[in-house]
């Protein structure tokens, strides 16, 4: 019983690459269910029934009611089947490592709230200079090969600064706030202007972590993005540098306020760890949601 009550909230798992998110969700659900149902079941409830029986009475067989206690068959495990829980996940990302936020029980509603809060996510993206493919990743059909010996870290950072600046401007414009008000000025100063509805993908911050031509690694903080968009960003960075680039790896390392630290590895997918994770993130979730949705 206690096990069930603890299972209401959000937790994160570390999804390996190449596995579909739905598969991950299914395996987590199966594991949880197995454990939950293997726990000691409570005793079956009993009910008091008045059943008609025949009793030797005065004038032969009579119909009277006797009191008996019978188990409630409806609660029998074989009748009821396995108890179910509902796990939902935030969004699908195939073919990349990522941390995935899953919600259990009442946490599913929190997931919707999390989506409405429009928090940013952080990705590390690895790219390769010198190639351009049709789907912007290195497994696609080759379109063009170019030289890249003129690319330096300084030039790359210049381009990244421009990308950040233009996206910041787009952020302010999409937030649909009247720029002539004092409130807009104050929000802009604190950097709290953020769109509160669905917008095209926006990058809030981007920087270069590693640069070793032809490889490079970027950290991108973005809103409402898709994997294809991140690959396209890498491709466009290549074009701006008068070369070409493809994306080799995309990894989500932060989703809102869930970071890599709180993600559960494959070996830790069991009831105890999940309950602990839900507990840990409960307060954080409450605070963040209050802060973000309170603006609306």
């Amino acid at each position: 019983k206690a096990a069930w009550s603890g299972l209401n909230g959000l937790f994160t798992v570390y999804k390996p690459s190449g596995v579909a998110s739905l598969r991950v969700r299914d395996s987590v659900e199966t594991l949880l269910l197995k454990e939950l149902n293997s726990l000691k079941q409570p005793d079956m409830p009993q009910q008091v029934r008045f059943l008609p029986t025949t009793v030797e009475g005065n004038a032969g067989k009579e119909l009277t009611l006797t009191v008996t206690q019978l188990p409630v068959l409806a609660a029998h495990p074989l009748v009821r089947g396995w108890r179910r829980i509902l796990i939902s996940l935030c969004d699908l990302m195939a073919s990349c490592f990522c941390i995935s936020v899953l919600g259990v029980g009442h946490g599913n509603k929190l997931l919707t709230d999390l989506y409405d809060a429009h928090l940013t996510r952080t990705y590390t993206v690895r790219g390769l200079f010198g190639k351009a493919t049709d789907d912007f990743s290195d497994t696609g059909k080759l379109i063009e090969k170019t030289t890249f010996d003129h690319v330096t870290r300084d030039k790359l950072e210049r381009i990244l600064a421009v990308i950040q600046g233009t996206n910041h401007k787009a952020l302010l414009m999409y937030s649909k706030i009247d720029l002539k008000t004092q409130e807009a000025y104050e929000l802009a100063v604190e950097g709290l202007i953020r769109p509160m509805e669905k917008t095209p993908p926006l990058i809030t911050a981007i920087r270069c972590l590693q640069f070793a031509p032809p490889e490079f690694q970027l950290e991108i903080q973005c809103l409402h993005e898709t994997q294809k968009y991140l690959r396209k960003v890498v491709h466009e960075i290549g074009l701006e540098l008068k070369s070409t680039a493809v994306c080799t790896q995309v990894r989500r390392i932060r989703d809102g306020f869930f970071t890599l630290d709180s993600a559960l590895l494959r070996t830790h997918w069991n009831l105890r760890n999940i309950r602990k994770s839900i507990q840990d993130s409960r307060i954080k979730v409450q605070v963040e949601l209050q802060r973000n949705l309170g603006h609306q």
Binding site: K131, T146, H150, G165, K180, Y185, V189, E240
Partner: protein, 639 residues
């Protein structure tokens, strides 16, 4: 088994190499998926079906069918249904067939279709050399083929070649004659013996479509390695200098004639250019200045043409622009950057260091020949004696100023006055003084550049700034001095009077100042740490609530691009137009704010901007010049 069935049974791709021979006895001697040289005897009935095999000796019964094969195939003379070869390679010799004739579908290599019986030979989707021997009745049908085709003499329906390529020799036809449909001239053949490309068996493909095949990773890698590498820019490529302009177009100040006079009848003239537009210049522009409806751009070259002007020229602020229609007249509006001839002693050695523009006059600073001034002189702002009743339009007068002790290193134009700063740190001024902007202690006009006194006497001034009627000067120790108009509280921190005609020290505690800018009603400075301080009146950049202040207020650096991701972003330069501000940070980004007069902010919108807003320019901004209703930027490309 009918031939059609056997065709479908075969695979289109060459079957994978089989290790070892596995002979499977199928009815009628069918070998499926084999290699080597299996010899198939001469079975009787349904004919032989060979999947990926070779050498099929003559069959009796139905047919010989070779599907998905390689190598040399010799299909002997068949019985009734004739020979069927599908998806093959190599040399195929289809001997004389019986009734239905031979059908070769999706083949490669040399095909020799011997004389057929009734239905004639059908060659569909083939490549290579095809020799279709004399056909029987329906004639030969070649569809979607490539290569050399020799269509022998046909029987009745004649030969039909559909969607073919290559050289066709159509022999003598029978009745319907030859029909050549959609042929193409001889094209270089793409490797008759190249990587296999089988076309679909069903139907006659036209030879244009290529079947997408999954290639092995090795093939992909090889294709990738052999792909050509393009080079767009070399290792030592230089960054290009560009000029971007935006704002009000009708005066011609942007220098793009098609904005005022469109080059096609259906185009409309543009009143405002709301976003940065590239201005093509002949030389690399090192200095630009915006006046009230006109622009000057100059280059540091030693060529004869080093100064160009565009825009309003009603007071000859752009010199004499000889009209083509009438040699004695000058243009009133100059629509594109036109060279301004200066009366230089050594035109091929002098370089122009800086230009500056005021309301109706302009100043040019050269390195060895001093300062030149042109334009309106009604208040002596050009540094020469005021001539009563002088007509300034179509004037040839360009004055050379030489009354300075030392070399002039900076020239600044106010609205109707001029300031000069020499190497020694002294400031000279001339022009209108009714607001005390000449700083000479009186409110009259001055027509000869005179040295300033007051608090700047003896101080080494490193920068002066002015655009309207108030002026600021910066000393080498970071002290600020101001004089001129103070109606908008620019100097209200030290005095109650609205006009100050002697330079006064402004004791602001805002750190060591690096750059100053003076606008019409507001002033701005940048200190050493890269923080921007503003004071005065108007849209100062701290939201709509701050409309006037006498003491400097700092604009938060987060509005200029400072963030956790880029913590060392600083503002490096500040410039003022009449009622707008422009700031450049060390990453080359331009931020503007203020009144958006006729789109001069360049942000794409027409509304005023109450806090710094980034202007999107495709390049790193090096310098910016602000005017009343237009702006000019000097930009370096990214790569």
């Amino acid at each position: 088994m009918s031939p059609a069935l056997l065709l479908r049974a075969g695979s289109r791709r060459p079957l994978a190499p089989q290790r070892g021979l596995r002979r499977r006895e199928l009815p009628g001697g069918a070998l499926v998926g084999q290699r080597g040289r299996p010899e198939l005897g001469a079975p009787r009935s349904p004919g032989g079906a060979l999947g990926s095999s070779r050498g099929l000796p003559p069959q009796r019964g139905l047919l010989g069918a070779l599907v998905g094969l390689r190598g040399l195939h010799v299909l002997g003379p068949q019985g009734r249904s004739g020979g069927v070869l599908g998806g093959l390679r190599g040399l195929h010799v289809l001997g004389p067939q019986g009734r239905s004739g031979g059908a070769l579908v999706g083949l490669r290599g040399l095909h020799v279709l011997g004389p057929q019986g009734r239905s004639g030979g059908v060659l569909g989707g083939l490549r290579g050399l095809h020799v279709l021997g004399p056909q029987g009745r329906s004639g030969g049908v070649l569809g979607g083929l490539r290569g050399l085709h020799v269509l022998g003499p046909q029987g009745r329906s004649g030969g039909a070649l559909v969607g073919l390529r290559g050289l066709h020799v159509l022999g003598p036809q029978g009745r319907s004659g030859g029909a050549l449909v959609a042929l193409q001239e001889l094209l270089p053949q793409r490797g008759l013996l190249g990587p296999p490309r089988e076309l679909p068996l069903q139907g006659l493909s036209r030879g244009f479509a290529k079947v997408a095949r999954t290639r092995s990773s090795r093939e992909l890698r090889e294709a990738e390695d052999s792909a050509p590498v393009f080079q767009y820019v070399g290792k030592q490529a230089k960054r290009k200098e560009r000029v971007f302009v935006w704002g009000f177009c009708h005066a011609g100040a942007l220098g793009i004639p098609s904005f005022v006079k469109p080059d096609a009848g259906w185009k409309k003239s543009r009143r405002i250019q709301p976003t940065p537009y590239r201005l093509d210049t002949v030389e690399k522009i090192s200095s630009a200045a915006c006046g009230y409806g006109f622009t000057l751009i100059s280059s540091k070259t030693t060529d004869i043409t080093k100064l160009w002007g565009m825009g309003l020229n009603k007071d000859s602020q752009l010199g004499f622009q000889r009209s083509r229609k009438d040699q004695t007249k000058s243009y009133e509006y100059v629509l594109e950057p036109s060279p301004i001839p200066l009366p230089l002693d050594t035109p091929q050695q002098t370089r122009i260091l800086q230009v500056s523009c005021g309301r109706a006059h302009s100043l040019i600073l050269t390195d060895i020949e001093g300062v030149f001034s042109m334009g309106n002189n009604s208040y002596g702002q050009c540094g020469r004696k005021v001539i009563k009743g002088e007509i300034y339009s179509e004037s040839h007068v360009i004055n050379r100023l030489q009354e300075f002790e030392g070399r002039v290193v900076q020239v600044v134009c106010g609205q109707d006055h001029s300031l000069f700063r020499t190497e020694k740190g002294e400031v000279y001024s001339c022009g209108w003084g009714a607001d005390g902007q000449t700083g000479l202690g009186h409110y009259d006009i001055t027509s000869v550049p005179t040295k300033l006194g007051g608090d700047v006497a003896g101080v080494n001034i490193v920068q002066v700034a002015s655009y309207g009627d108030s002026c600021l000067a910066l000393s080498d120790e970071g002290d600020l001095f101001g004089w001129g108009n103070s109606e908008y509280m620019q100097l209200a921190s030290i005095t109650e009077t609205t006009q100050v005609n002697v330079p006064r020290h402004l004791p602001f505690k805002i750190g060591r100042i690096k750059d100053v800018a003076c606008g019409g009603t507001g002033n701005a400075i940048v200190n050493e740490e890269g923080n921007v301080f503003v004071w005065g009146y108007g849209i100062l950049g701290k939201g709509p609530n701050l409309m006037e202040t006498a003491t400097p207020e700092m604009i938060p650096p987060t509005l200029f691009g400072l963030s956790d991701f880029s913590p060392d972003t600083r503002v490096s330069r500040i410039r003022c137009g009449l009622s707008q501000f422009a700031a450049l940070n060390n990453r080359g980004e331009l931020f503007v704010w203020g009144k958006n007069i006729r789109g001069c902010l360049g942000i794409g919108r027409m509304e005023d901007q109450y806090f710094p807003w980034r202007v999107t320019i495709p390049g790193e901004v090096v310098d910016v010049a602000c005017g009343v209703d237009h702006m000019v930027t000097l930009v370096k490309s990214f790569i």
